[in-house]
Symmetry: C2
């Protein structure tokens, strides 16, 4: 593949550093009797995530000519939601994973009750960030309310939570490609799509731009989850920060399980191409999103 | 006590019926692969709660001359948050309660993973309701964003989640009145206060009204939690829909445990009087809130 001359690494680093800074600044202080649960939330939020979703939110804003530095609190809120979902997902009654990002998962570093509460607190914190006066003063309020609606829907019963439910229900069962696609769509794709869309909404994007970004986000999301499934088999435990073959052990319904590795790789490629082709209306401005899609696909090669 | 001629029962019934109707109308439909978790959320939301918090939100709106029928979706969202907190609270890793409102608790009727996800989904659903187009069109957007901020803060790390954490941490330990008050403040009082305040914000209340209602809400909240502690000892299991003496069994830090029953009764009385006296600026309009405070206190006599 021809090397993209766009310097993605610096681009991502600049944005993730700013997200990091805002998360640190606005995260509740570890004081008072309740500090244990705040520490647990902090532990997971600052465990070294790639900040993919908040960055996608910022890029969504930028690509429609919005000022991404004005919506950092919104992006930080999205990361809180993502982190809450990982904490709850790792709990014994769910996926029962002891490691996350190379460190003990939250309930291992603390305990189950604290981890559950930390997840609950992070979800609430996201919406505190979304409605924080320091964000509200920067953006159009109608668009902000729409963006919050988009995110809350994407992570609710008819989104992430529903996807998690079916992901669990299908463990050890024979599933079809249709069910698997439904799981991916809800468990992963909707929040990734909503991250970009909310940024574009806040940045002032018109309906044509929102439509193109929604198509990019959907296809990127599918590619991302398929690559994630592949990494569970082909990935390096140290780089991943978690055990490989965990999907197989749990008899999860995944693309490699259903179609084998080669066909799954081709699927990831196909979704990535579709994502990139949705960016046409943006011309040169699409470079960061294009580079992100290629970068994500190449994790697996 | 002189009987209040105000017909509280009809007043509450009219409002709770409308909250019920909106909850039913806007609750996600039990369709598609993910219907199990939606069923679990519905099971708990429609398990016969008193709808106290949403009603307080509506009264907060009404007392400042707002149109309470226009903010029903906001009130319904508050009930979703309250229900999510009960579901998570009942889980084995938390209070481990098998019954709630006279029925098996959510994780008993379904299972732990489903109950946890149903709670997560209900919290997201609350914010979906708060930003629903059918609500947004009815209210001032600046005030709506403030109201969402107030609620999200009240139920987060520095509110309900923090209170739950310390409530658990203090089990079996010798606590002081200061810690106990902190637990009540965060676990219970903040959401009750925020419910009234958000309604008053949406109804267009000025800062003087908000201040008075905040004082009412705080004192009502403390009275409510103290009465709740008393009911655990003095209450009727059938009416409560849950086992009595559960606080004692779990060695929870409560007012009766700390001060005995008589002194605790007097405390509840004191908070109720303070709540009512905060209503002075509203004159006759305060009748519903006054009646609610008296009604709540009288649950224990």
């Amino acid at each position: 593949m021809v090397q993209n001359r766009f310097d993605l690494e610096s681009y991502l680093k600049e944005r993730s550093k700013k997200v990091e800074k805002v998360l640190k600044k606005y995260f509740p202080k570890e004081k008072d009797y309740g500090k244990r649960v705040i520490s647990a939330g902090k532990y997971s939020v600052f465990a070294g995530g790639k900040r993919l979703r908040p960055i996608l939110c910022l890029v969504g804003c930028e690509i429609v000519d919005g000022d991404w530095e004005k919506i950092l609190l919104f992006a930080a809120g999205i990361e809180c939601i993502h982190t809450y979902s990982l904490i709850h997902d790792d709990l014994p009654c769910m996926d029962d994973d002891d490691f996350r990002r190379g460190k003990p998962s939250c309930h291992k570093a603390f305990d189950e009750a604290t981890a559950m509460l930390a997840g609950d607190g992070l979800q609430a914190l996201a919406f505190q960030f979304f409605t924080h006066p320091d964000l509200v003063k920067n953006v159009n309020k109608t668009r902000l309310l729409k963006a919050i609606h988009v995110i809350s829907k994407a992570v609710g019963f008819e989104g992430m939570v529903g996807g998690q439910m079916v992901d669990l229900l299908m463990e050890g069962k024979k599933g079809t490609a249709r069910i698997l696609k439904w799981i991916h769509l809800n468990k992963t794709v909707r929040l990734i799509e909503a991250s970009i869309l909310s940024g574009a909404l806040l940045g002032g994007g018109n309906s044509q731009a929102l439509k193109a970004l929604s198509s990019y986000g959907k296809n990127l999301g599918f590619a991302f989850q398929i690559v994630d499934d592949l990494l569970d088999i082909l990935g390096d435990e140290k780089k991943l920060g978690k055990k490989t073959y965990s999907d197989i052990k749990k008899q999860k319904l995944t693309y490699p399980a259903l179609f084998g590795i080669e066909k799954t790789k081709k699927l990831a490629q196909k979704y990535t191409e579709k994502a990139i082709s949705a960016l046409k209306p943006f011309g040169e401005r699409a470079q960061p999103l294009k580079a992100i899609a290629e970068f994500m696909l190449n994790r697996v090669y």
